[in-house]
């Protein structure tokens, strides 16, 4: 027997909400990153669930794309964070506000 698709979607929504809350409430850049990963994977889960339900491989293909792009994004993002840490000795995103209007 199979798990109904709605369960996957509820889990995906919960994961996304946790990620969103993390992005909104935390100040540590690394935690922000982890939260973003959480949101991405929540979306991935929803894609997989729908792909399974409709028997359409397109959803799974998109997930691969997301994974690859997320990996690339992490590389760039971590490089930026390291550089910020080197120059300003902080990873607190609220302290990095030189572009404030």
């Amino acid at each position: 027997m199979s798990v109904p698709v709605v369960n996957y979607l509820v889990l995906s929504a919960v994961l996304f909400a946790v990620g969103t809350l993390g992005v909104l409430s935390r100040r540590n850049a690394l935690i922000l990153f982890m939260s973003i990963e959480l949101m991405l994977n929540a979306v991935n889960l929803a894609f997989i669930a729908f792909a399974r339900q409709w028997g359409d491989m397109a959803g799974q293909v998109i997930v691969f794309f997301v994974l690859v792009v997320a990996a690339a994004e992490v590389v760039v993002g971590l490089a930026i964070i390291i550089n910020i840490f080197r120059t300003r000795e902080t990873v607190d995103v609220d302290d990095v506000d030189r572009l404030r209007g």
Partner: protein, 635 residues
């Protein structure tokens, strides 16, 4: 003839050398470049004249295209020069008299520290004037026309640190601009009608295109005349010329007597084909000419300033020239132009010699007197000039002025002739009055401080040359002997002119009588001047009181300057003040500043969005995403 372009280019080269390098050159070198360029140009002009004379009369037209200047749509203006008898005459006057005045300036301006600036502008003027007379289309003529206006402005205001000179320069520029406005509209009309600016094409097509006496012909000619009125200082735009005497005296001689101010006469003579088609315009030209001749002469009667007296005299004589062109006697007008150039250059330069002798810029005749023994040469040549201008035979002025009066009489317009004759009496009177006040009587200058001395040879020789021209110039055209090489020379140019017909208007007076009358007029004027200023005959108290209001009126120049100030200058200044104050500072500045303030306020409101907190951005993104979702859901 092929070298006519050299005549044009030489003064320009001189102007450039003196203008760019003059400050680093010695005075001798500057004078050499300036006088040399004009002198050689004169030789080339003589060469061009000889070239013309070698041709049969009807073929004496030579055009030389230097390059295409403007080609745009239907407009094609070439930078090309026209050498025909008319422009050859002007060419010789401009370079010949110009050369003498350049030479004179070497002495007169010798002490000025802006020596090279003076000569570069004088050369530039010569170039501009040559461009004006050599142009073979109206557009190029207009370029020369405006350039001489610019040079006039620069040279009147040569001593620009003197406020009166600076404002006189401004006045000359602005007042002539009024006439030029009409001139430009006239040019536009010519282009709209003929589709070209080229003299020959316009004049060839004019009889077919323009109806005789039609509104278009009258309009074009009157508008061109407006330009001439401004440039040649005729009523009502003559007010700038007396003030222009603020410039150095040789400038007054060259620009404001001999050459530039005659440009208007040249223009009408050049475009006579158009004027022939507009009898109304001809009548206007003649009427304004004779009115100017008379009124300017009355103003010259009472002025105490020797240069202003000569300026009014110039205006008056220019009036005679317009009278001549107005009655269709173009050749006579041109002859008076040439003769006046000789005499008035002579008079101005002698006046400059007097001022020089009195040590600077003294122009008030009330502080001169008795200079005859101190300045024998200057006194003699001044007398020659005065008598010439008065019309005493056998000086050149007699022939030219008599010719104009004669032609006017023969044209059948007795009123014009009478006014002209009256102006001749006045001319003789004021010229001799000036002469007697300056050179006779007791010295009225401060003899302890001023020791008059005759001018150096470099100033005297040009005077002698001009005096010789004044004495012998008459042989160019002795009307009553039918000896007229000058007229013969110009004849091919004016062959289409309507004949001033002895046949049409059987003369009431014979030519001999007319000559006698004009000599008599001069004699009367001289006689009165002699009685009043030399014999010291004073008129009765009653008569004097009766004439007092007239004298005051004349002395204040009919209050025309005051009238123009009240009519144009004061409202103009008010308008400018309004535009500069309320309009510019208030309205325009308000709009500009308002836009700035609006952007500033908008930016201030928007900058709060850029908080610098990433979480805030993320929250806004979330809000946005939710909003889109809700919208899609509700749709």
């Amino acid at each position: 003839m092929e070298f006519v372009w050299v005549v044009l280019i030489l003064p320009l080269v001189g102007a450039l050398i003196n203008g760019l390098l003059g400050r680093r050159m010695s005075k001798r070198a500057v004078s050499g470049v300036a006088c040399g360029s004009v002198g050689v140009a004169f030789l080339f002009a003589v060469n061009a004249l000889l070239g013309l004379l070698r041709l049969p009369p009807e073929e004496r037209v030579f055009t030389q295209t230097l390059f295409d200047w403007i080609v745009a749509g239907g407009l094609s203006a070439k930078f090309s020069l026209l050498l025909d008898p008319l422009s050859a005459v002007m060419l010789l006057v401009v370079t010949g008299v110009g050369f003498l005045i350049h030479l004179y300036s070497v002495g007169y301006m010798g002490e000025d520290r802006d020596y090279s600036r003076y000569f570069s502008w004088l050369n530039l003027f010569t170039f501009s004037m040559l461009l004006l007379v050599l142009a073979d289309n109206f557009l190029l003529l207009f370029v020369g026309w405006e350039l001489v206006g610019l040079c006039s402005y620069l040279l009147i205001g040569f001593w620009f640190t003197k406020p009166s000179a600076a404002s006189a320069a401004k006045k000359a520029f602005v007042v002539t601009r009024v006439g030029d406005f009409g001139f430009m509209i006239g040019l536009f009309l010519i282009f709209a009608t003929f589709g070209t600016f080229d003299y020959f094409r316009v004049f060839e097509e004019a009889p077919q295109v323009l109806a005789y006496g039609g509104a278009l012909a009258t309009g074009i000619t009157l508008l061109l005349f407006a330009g001439a009125v401004g440039k040649s200082a005729q009523i009502p735009l003559y007010v700038w010329l007396p003030d222009a005497m603020e410039g150095p005296t040789p400038v007054s001689a060259l620009i404001h007597a001999a050459t530039m101010v005659t440009a208007g006469v040249y223009l009408i003579a050049r475009a006579y084909v158009l004027y022939e088609l507009a009898p109304v315009s001809m009548a206007v030209v003649a009427a304004i000419g004779v009115a100017t001749a008379f009124f300017a002469a009355t103003m010259a009667l009472v002025t105490h300033d020797i240069k202003r007296m000569l300026a009014y005299s110039t205006i008056s004589q220019l009036g005679y020239m317009f009278l001549a062109t107005g009655v269709g006697a173009y050749a006579a007008g041109m002859f008076h132009l040439v003769s006046h150039a000789f005499m008035k250059a002579l008079l101005f330069l002698s006046a400059g010699s007097v001022m020089h002798a009195l040590g600077g810029e003294e122009t008030d005749m009330r502080r001169m007197g008795g200079l005859r023994t101190k300045l024998p040469y200057t006194s003699t040549v001044f007398l020659l000039g005065s008598l010439g201008l008065s019309g005493i035979p056998p000086l050149v002025g007699f022939f030219s002025k008599d010719l104009i009066l004669e032609e006017t009489f023969l044209s059948g317009n007795t009123t014009l002739w009478l006014v002209g004759l009256a102006a001749a009496v006045l001319t003789a009177f004021y010229m001799l009055r000036g002469h007697f006040l300056t050179f006779y009587g007791k010295p009225r200058y401060d003899e302890t401080k001023v020791h008059p001395h005759e001018s150096p040879p470099v100033m005297l020789w040009p005077l002698f040359a001009l005096a010789a021209l004044t004495v012998f110039g008459g042989i160019l055209w002795i009307s009553f002997l039918n000896f007229a090489p000058f007229e013969k020379f110009l004849e091919p140019v004016f062959e289409g002119a309507r004949l001033v017909g002895e046949e049409e208007h059987p003369a009431a007076l014979s030519t001999g009588m007319l000559v006698l009358l004009s000599v008599l007029a001069a004699g009367v004027g001289i006689g009165i001047a002699w009685l009043v200023y030399l014999r010291g005959v004073t008129v009765g108290e009653g008569l004097r009181r009766a004439f007092r209001p007239l004298y005051t009126l004349l002395y204040n120049r009919y209050y025309v300057d005051e009238l123009y100030t009240a009519l144009f200058v004061v409202p103009g200044r008010r308008l400018s003040e309004f535009l500069a104050g309320s309009f510019d500072q208030g309205l325009l500045n308000g709009i500009v500043n308002g836009v700035g303030r609006l952007v500033d306020a908008l930016g201030g409101a928007l900058r709060r969005v850029e908080s610098g907190y990433i979480r805030a951005y993320a929250a806004w993104m979330l809000v946005g995403a939710l909003a889109i979702l809700i919208y899609l859901y509700l749709r």
